[in-house]
């Protein structure tokens, strides 16, 4: 297993795999395969994939430790950047399809609607993480500070989930929301539990890794 994960083709393969949802959406939009309301379909899909990649990213460390597969860590950065990629597409879709790129309307909308504000804040929290994802930034910040900064992902996870919950709650459609609550609950709960037991030094679960 470890050898498979360390295979030189593993990373390019994962890169392409993570891009597939995007390519599928681009194809769907071009071929008019997204149903009667393509704008809505694109917005929902990019939001869904942001949450899915967030879950995958946060699953890397627990899996790495529980399955004793240190090689898993080499995929974490790419998965994390894909969270940002899909979040960016989601924001872009909202700004474009819903708001027609009218900056005044967008700022007004963000300020006016808590649901949008929470989503936008999630995006803002993810931005410094994406910007400091390269090795030089880690060295420049120092591992310790870099770790502290990247703990923002936990806040982003909670706010992202709140954004999704808010969208669904008025229609009482909480089944999918609860799936994400359960997954993220386990992933975040595991971290809290470890710290509670004193197994790990602060931040050890978020150890930066060399490529």
């Amino acid at each position: 297993m470890s050898r498979l994960l360390l295979h030189p083709a593993a990373k390019p393969l994962l890169f392409v795999a993570c891009l597939l949802p995007f390519l599928w959406l681009v194809y769907g939009a071009a071929a008019d395969q997204l149903g009667a309301n393509p704008a809505e379909a694109l917005l929902r899909a990019t939001g869904d994939w942001t949450l899915r990649f967030l879950c995958l990213t946060l699953a890397v460390t627990p899996l790495r430790m529980l399955a004793e597969l240190p090689a898993l860590a080499r995929f974490r950065r790419m998965l994390g950047l894909y969270v940002y990629f899909y979040a960016l597409l989601h924001l872009l879709g909202y700004s474009w399809f819903d708001m027609g790129f009218e900056l005044a309307e967008i700022t007004h909308d963000i300020a006016k609607r808590p649901f949008i504000l929470v989503g936008f804040t999630t995006f803002l929290l993810l931005t410094p993480l994406a910007l400091t994802s390269f090795n030089r930034a880690i060295r420049w910040l120092g591992a310790r500070r870099w770790q502290r900064l990247h703990q923002l992902v936990y806040a982003a996870a909670v706010l992202g989930l709140l954004h999704f919950f808010w969208m669904r709650v008025s229609k009482n459609r909480l089944d999918e929301v609860l799936v994400y609550v359960a997954i993220l609950g386990v992933l975040l709960g595991w971290r809290v539990w470890r710290r509670w037991l004193g197994h790990a030094r602060p931040g050890a679960g978020a150890m930066p890794v060399k490529r």
Binding site: A36, F97, D109, R113, S170, K171, N172
Partner: protein, 329 residues
């Protein structure tokens, strides 16, 4: 058209005013074919193809006459049949827009009875056959604006609900009309899900229900209603958000108190009893100022402005004279 005289001097037409040669030649070819008697056949097959694309030809046709009611026939482009029957909110058959088209085949529409009861002189159980014959069927082309921010243009077949109301003779004490829709666990897989309280109930003020634009619909696109669109009989209130127009009606009840409707019960701060289309009163989570016309407004084109009362203000505005529409949203 601008008429140009010698006094205008030497004016060239805009290039866009000049008929392109290709078009000109096409016209010539068409005229030649017409002269040869071929145009009849060509046009016939062309219009037929259009008609088939519109209806899909899967359900029984219905005949109807053009409606004389003011505002009842918009000339906007009619939404594709495929979108109108494949993109539906009908939670009894699933929560995704594509679910009703997939699941509604289990709905049993015969026999069907609509009970009219409550504060009326002549309560009655109407068999669907009798209800169909109660008044001449009219075609009405209405805009439909969903509270979610999208819209369609749909050709309904039906008659004014007022026709039925007049026949049952409401008592003076009747102030509201409640519409109860079918909730059959055996044929509707999502009845019993926690999304809403079942059955789905909607309501109107009596004067709203009596308005000639309020339609009791039995068909669309010249055919009987597809099941996912609320067969065999539904309400269509074009100046209100779509969810006010209950599908698959089984009971119409006249009351003196405002009915407790499904969505205003589930989320009272988001969905009011009136739910008139109103671009100035936003939903808490999104603006109602604009809408996306399904199948027409491209992915990257700007959304169109939503009109007050969905464009039916001249017809229905007076129903709400003096009312604070922010409070009674």
């Amino acid at each position: 058209m601008l008429i140009k005289t010698h006094a205008d001097g030497f004016i060239h037409p805009h290039t866009s005013d000049i008929t392109p040669q290709a078009v000109y030649l096409q016209r010539r070819a068409l005229m030649q074919r017409m002269a040869a008697g071929m145009a009849g056949a060509t046009l016939a097959s062309w219009t037929m193809r259009d008609a088939l694309a519109q209806t899909g030809g899967r359900v029984a046709p219905m005949t109807a006459t053009k409606s004389a009611v003011s505002g009842a026939t918009t000339v906007e482009k009619i939404t594709d049949y495929k979108d109108a029957t494949g993109y539906n909110n009908f939670y009894e058959f699933g929560l995704d827009k594509s679910d009703p088209a997939r699941n509604a085949h289990t709905l049993k529409t015969t026999p069907w009875t609509v009970t009219v009861e409550g504060l009326v002189k002549k309560p009655a159980n109407y068999a669907l056959e009798d209800l169909l014959k109660l008044s001449p069927q009219e075609e009405r082309i209405y805009r439909l604006r969903c509270v979610e921010g999208w819209s369609m243009v749909l050709p309904w077949v039906g008659y004014s609900l007022a026709e039925l109301i007049r026949r049952v003779e409401p008592l003076g004490s009747a102030k509201y009309v409640e519409f109860v829709t079918l909730a059959d666990r055996k044929t509707m897989p999502y009845v019993g899900s926690r999304v809403l309280d079942w059955p789905y109930v909607e309501g109107l003020r009596l004067d709203e229900a009596m308005h000639p634009l309020t339609l009791l619909a039995f068909g669309m696109y010249g055919e009987v209603l597809p099941k996912q669109n609320g067969a065999p009989v539904r309400l269509v209130v074009p100046w209100k958000y779509g969810f006010k127009s209950g599908k698959s009606l089984v009971r119409i009840r006249f009351t003196d108190t405002q009915p407790a409707t499904a969505w205003s019960g589930a989320a009272p701060q988001e969905y009011g009893f009136y739910s008139n289309v109103n671009p100035t009163v936003d939903h808490p989570r999104w603006s109602q100022a604009t809408e996306r016309r399904i199948g027409e407004d491209g992915l990257f084109s700007k959304k169109r402005k939503t009109l007050m009362f969905n464009g039916y203000e001249p017809q229905v505005g007076q129903l709400y004279a003096g009312m604070d529409l922010r409070k009674f949203f």
